[in-house]
Symmetry: C2
Subunit: 323 residues, 2 copies
């Protein structure tokens, strides 16, 4: 059976799995990121775990290893100054895995891996031009045009979360102000909620909460809480506006929402679509589908990273670290 | 000698030429657009002119015909509701030329043709990821990623001029408000000049002009006129801001300015670069070249349209109208 290994490196967890070409996870495991004080330890431990699975499954034909990581650079095969990892600097992760496996190894950032996963196994099957938006702690994005990811000349394309949507707007972790992700992300909506709750004079279920999260704003909105609905509306206004501008640039067939805040489903989808359509050039109106991801979130990170192997194999664009 | 015909359809002029693979125009001609009351007349007359050149140059091996036109759609081979032409509706221009020539015919919009021309013969030689911005009556743009134009799913990608940079900003010809082209284009800068001149209490060379054009604003700025320089600064501020957001999406190696307003050279280039850098995410700072076009403007439209033939030939992506 042809399989690829997908590894997702997150701030909290590292998950890995053997995925077949139908998107079924045949074996998997996970670690706490904090358990590895150096990337070398992580690579050694993960490689040993992968090798153990290979030894126990003689029918596995391993095509390669795909890795999704914050600031993962496809061209360089490096993780560069990752914002949420304890490991610093430029980590030559592809080369390190190549030391353990004589196989193609490929790396990209988590949003790009999600885009490839969606194309192989989810809502973007058969689409050549689409955008994925990951609404997690930040806002990540992956752009596919002509059937291929847009990496840009340096491997860092797709930073829609750091386009400025409000001049002199909210302070962003990147050091600037008004970035889209300060409004449209799981943390952005919490900021909105805190600001709106402070100004709010009426009753709201939100004021009874000990701790505001994007999830419990959604729970309140589901119950019809007016303020919670306004918070979603404000978030959607910023996101819809930005998506309309994005469509004018790349004219995708679909935009797919994924991740924490996307789990709010139609609470975020419907107002975002309305604001997106309101702001669109007439040429693009009623043409672009706004969809929720169809890759099961539980395995999405592994599936995306593994799909990167199949995609790179079919394009014949594996990069090997020159030594 | 291998040649391609390039045809550029503009609101005022139609120019056509035989271009060799080095970008030398071997034969050319032009018409007034208004001389043709129907597209059929234009196609017949131009085809006859092309056939005459072929008969007189037995060494020409014609690879195909490339056409640049407002709202030219690469996929459909149609000009769709062109904003500045007297011809209306959806014009199947590729199919009409196919009736006269048993050769590949390809069509795209003028900004995309400019991008391809720049890649073949100009400042984008050897670049796989770049953006061209045409600063004429409007603002057009062509995005190249992974070595290929981004057409989008419907052939209409690249409308950077119609991204909104100012909510409730200037009224745009598209019916919306605040589009980039209402600020950054030859007409946009004239609007800025009129607004700023009205508010201006000091002396300015601009107040002596009968008629304000982007060209004579540049002439005044060259002479050190303070108001004219402020007008360029304001224009550059809007453009630079928008380019910074654009870079976050597609991370191009270069952005190339072309057309009327780009002829102002460093008057527009330098402040635009400054504002662009100011607004960039640190990941992208000091990495992206802002350049002026290196295709001679006189022949740029023909060269771009002809280059579309070479590009489509090398990609093997000619589309033939199915009958």
């Amino acid at each position: 059976m042809k399989v690829a290994v997908g590894i997702d490196i997150g701030g909290t967890n590292i998950v890995w799995g053997f995925v077949d070409q139908q998107g079924v996870v045949q074996a998997q495991g996970n670690f706490l990121t904090a358990d590895f004080s150096t990337p070398a330890e992580f690579v050694r431990t993960t490689s040993n775990a992968i090798n153990e699975v290979i030894q126990n499954n003689s029918d596995f034909q391993l095509s390669g290893i795909g890795i999704g990581a914050p600031n993962g650079n496809y061209f360089h095969g490096t993780i560069e100054d990752p914002p949420n990892l304890v490991w610093n600097g430029i980590i030559p992760i592809r080369q390190m895995f190549e030391g353990f496996f004589d196989l193609p190894v490929c790396l990209t950032n988590d949003a790009n891996a999600a885009a490839i996963g969606e194309m192989q196994f989810g809502a973007a099957k058969g689409l050549n031009d689409f955008v994925i938006i990951t609404l997690g702690t930040g806002l990540g994005s992956g752009f596919v045009a002509n059937g291929n990811l847009i990496y840009g000349h340096d491997g860092f394309a797709g930073e829609l979360g750091h386009t400025i949507v409000e001049i002199d707007g909210r302070k962003c972790g990147c050091g600037r102000r008004g970035c889209l992700e300060t409004y449209a992300s799981a943390t952005g909506i919490v900021r909105t909620a805190k600001i709106m709750l402070e100004k709010h004079s009426g009753v709201s279920l939100l004021s009874e909460l000990d701790h505001i999260t994007s999830k419990n704003i959604a729970v309140c909105a589901e119950k019809g809480d007016e303020l919670a609905l306004q918070i979603f509306d404000y978030t959607a206004k910023k996101l819809g506006f930005s998506l309309a501008n994005t469509i004018a640039i790349s004219s995708p067939e679909a935009i797919i929402l994924f991740g924490g805040l996307a789990n709010a489903g139609k609470l975020i989808l419907e107002p975002t679509q309305r604001y997106m359509e309101q702001n669109l050039l007439s040429l693009f109106k009623n043409k672009v589908k706004l969809l929720l991801s169809q890759v099961p979130e539980k395995n999405a990170a592994i599936l995306g990273a593994a799909a990167l192997v199949w995609k790179t194999e079919s394009n014949n664009t594996f990069v090997k670290t020159s030594t």
